[in-house]
């Protein structure tokens, strides 16, 4: 495989992989937000509910 082909593979996987990984992170954040919603009580007590 020549350098340009390797570069193309790297570009496609790199761009796709970065996009998919960050999309996965947005899903994880959404799920975490559902399980650990904001509450005044937690903020006031200063203790995390984990």
């Amino acid at each position: 495989m020549d350098n340009l082909t390797k570069g193309l593979v790297l570009t496609v996987i790199g761009m796709g992989g970065t996009l998919l990984s960050l999309w996965l992170l947005t899903l994880i954040i959404q799920v975490l937000k559902k399980f650990f919603p904001y509450s005044e009580a937690e903020e006031k007590s200063g203790k995390e509910v984990v």
Binding site: T11, T18, S21, L22, L24, L25, Q30, Y38, E42
Partner: protein
């Protein structure tokens, strides 16, 4: 006796007689970097030690980069081993607030789009005849992230470290000049005026603590080669958000970050020895680096336009320009541009979210490149 005096005096003129044109040009370049740092306030924390390092290493017979020399020891200890960029990331993590990103998670996608310039520049560099690994190092300038650029370049193309790091840090500082014309060109009057809603406060302390842990586990499993970078960034952030190790957090964002920045800057400056640095390819690298950041801005804004379309006008495409890692400069640029067209348009928090997304995105892009190259047997 007379001979001894003559030899003694010759010892005092050796520096001048060994001085080459290359050395003089690089000393002047070092002075230019000092000028930019001191007078223009462009990334002074880095440009000052880099500029001074460039002056020091171009003084003939100083032996600073010879085996056992002071700067060679710094370089071997912190750059070759990749310790310095990783330590810097602990400090960055301790200083970063991911709350704006957590308030509006979809904005994280702009942090991915803002990295596409890395890959497009990689292809351009390959087309111009650079080797694959050199092209990766050149493309990574588009991460707009000094430590990541240094980490990747020191792994794959240490001979380009001076040019790549100077480009990365200089262009980071020049983001307020590079981005606005592209942002104005790619957006319509109507798009520039879009106001984005501020969601109600929705980020709990638990979420802020769990976020760095979740990001570390997920991203490092996807691209394990990026673990040192992502791991250190998220460790710094976890220390900050947990609130239980304030001494370590303060040390990370102050003493450790400051000491490492000084040594890292000097080490990079030390790679700017005239004969090695003054080549036509250095100019090409600087040009491609600039192009990488322009392409990042283009892809970020275009992705912002796509999000604007998909959300029926709820996302201002200007925010896409903040999807790079230059934190918080890129976010400030978006805020300034937004207010240029409507003084009541406050985009800062959304731009901060995209900007912190860009930090994660740049490390992720680098981590994926490292892991793919490792998979190809090149890492």
């Amino acid at each position: 006796m007379l001979d001894l005096i003559q030899y003694g005096l010759a010892g005092l003129t050796m520096g001048f007689s060994a001085l080459t044109v290359h050395n003089v040009i690089m000393i002047l370049t070092g002075c230019a970097l000092l000028y930019l740092g001191i007078k223009k306030d462009y990334e002074p924390l880095l440009l000052l030690p880099i500029g001074f390092g460039a002056i020091l290493v171009n003084i003939p017979l100083s032996g600073l980069m010879a085996e056992g020399g002071l700067l060679r020891e710094f370089y071997n200890f912190g750059v070759i081993t990749e310790i310095f960029p990783c330590l810097i990331f602990i400090g960055i993590g301790a200083m970063t607030d991911f709350a704006p990103l957590l308030e509006n998670p979809s904005i994280l996608m702009l942090g991915a789009a803002g990295q596409f310039g890395i890959f497009l520049t990689l292809l351009l560099a390959l087309g111009m005849g650079f080797s694959l690994l050199d092209s990766v190092a050149i493309g990574i300038i588009g991460a707009c992230d000094g430590p990541t650029s240094i980490y990747v370049t020191s792994k794959f193309a240490p001979h380009l470290l001076g040019a790549v790091s100077v480009a990365a840090y200089s262009y980071m500082a020049l983001v307020p000049l590079i981005q606005p014309p592209i942002m104005r060109l790619l957006t319509t009057e109507r798009e520039k005026r879009i106001k984005m809603e501020y969601p109600e406060k929705s980020v709990s302390r638990s979420l802020k603590i769990l976020f760095p842990i979740a990001v570390t586990i997920v991203t490092c499993l996807i691209a394990p080669m990026g673990t040192p970078l992502m791991g250190m960034l998220m460790l710094g952030n976890l220390m900050k958000e947990s609130g239980v190790v304030s001494r370590l957090t303060k040390a990370s964002e102050n003493e450790i970050a400051n000491a490492v920045t000084l040594l890292l800057g000097l080490s990079i400056g030390a790679t700017m020895e005239g004969a090695a640095f003054l080549k036509p390819q250095t100019l090409l690298i600087l040009g491609l680096g600039l192009l990488a950041i322009c392409l990042d801005t283009v892809t970020g804004v275009l992705f912002g336009k796509l999000m604007c379309l998909l959300t029926k006008g709820k996302v201002n495409p200007l925010v896409g320009a903040a999807g790079i890692s230059a934190y918080p400069m890129a976010a400030r640029v978006v805020q300034t541009e937004g207010r240029r067209y409507d003084t009541n348009n406050w985009l800062l928090m959304h731009a901060m979210g995209a900007n912190t997304g860009g930090q994660i995105g740049s490390i992720m892009a680098a981590a994926i490149m490292l892991s793919v190259l490792k998979g190809m047997g090149l890492g």
